[in-house]
Amino acid sequence: MVERFKKSFQEIAEAFKESFSKLFDGGEASLFLTEPEDLLNTGVDIEAKPPGKGLKHMNLLSGGEKALTAIALLFAFLKIKPSPFCVLDEIDAALDEVNVNHFSNYLREFAKHTQFVVISHRQGTIENSDSLFGVTMDKKSGITKMVSVRLQDPNQAVAMRS
């Protein structure tokens, strides 16, 4: 049990270092054990160093840096244990335009092994999808309807053949 945890920890820490510097275009991040001599009970902590900055604890990162670091860890998990499908609800909300594109390009790399269902308002994410589902709420009825959406102009949803 302990051996398996140690091996899995090392693999994820390695994958996290890689996905972090890919998403941040540089910088370094690491997972470390809070009590390395007690593998049975130790916790796992995180430190991140965005490019050019000092090493930071999670609370000192900005809103967008935190979200991007969390996405890097998620991708590290997916790399070590690809899950058949994954649902992401507006995980790009705090990102600026450049980071939305970093995220959606990197997502593309993982879409070979994992199927993604993504909910988003951001152009960069929408443009990088394979298929789009439009939902709308009929103002009078309070009922959700599905609409078909053309990839070129996602904001112009048209009524789907129901």
């Binding site: 916790g43 244990k81 298929s131």
Partner: protein, 165 residues
């Protein structure tokens, strides 16, 4: 290819029977605020065995059933089905295609089905155990919750890594 089809009827704002056919790769759901996007992700967690009503953003069990509007009466039942391609045998069942169905009635009763055979909630939860999807998986990230995996306590993060071992 894993998730093939997803059907909702009476679940939250989906008063009408609605079906989504999924393809491989990245499917993105778009739409205005309040139109029902997060209700789809709630429905996915629910059909895969999620019981915690708070995670489903409700206060009472019946909050998952369509509660009416200016023009429509409340419904008495919510039903969600998820159809998955199982050719790689990810789910330990002897079928190439698996459909899970969950129903809840305003009376408080619930029904569960695997490929139209009635079963218990426990059977569904066991089915997804160890596959990386399902209720507690890191692969279901609700709205506004992306930061949780990095602001979690060190011992909780350890538990996540243990699950992947």
């Amino acid at each position: 290819m894993f998730l093939k089809k997803f059907e909702l009827h009476g679940f939250k704002s989906f008063a009408d029977k609605t079906a989504l056919e999924f393809n491989d790769g990245i499917s993105t759901i778009v739409g205005p605020n309040g139109s029902g996007k997060s209700n789809i992700s709630d429905a996915m967690m629910w059909v895969m065995g999620e019981q915690r009503i708070k995670t489903l953003r409700g206060a009472r069990v019946e909050d998952v059933i369509f509660s009416g509007s200016d023009t429509h009466k409340p419904l008495g039942m919510a039903a969600v089905s998820i159809t998955m391609d199982n050719q790689e045998g990810i789910l330990s069942l002897p079928y190439e295609e698996v459909t899970i169905t969950r129903k809840a009635y305003r009376s408080g009763e619930s029904e569960f089905y695997i490929n139209k055979n009635s079963c218990r909630l426990k059977d569904i939860q066991m089915l997804f155990h160890d596959t990386g999807i399902g209720r507690d998986s890191f692969a279901m990230i609700g709205q506004g919750r992306v930061d949780e995996i990095i602001t979690a306590k060190p011992e909780d993060r350890r538990a996540m890594i243990e699950e992947l071992a």
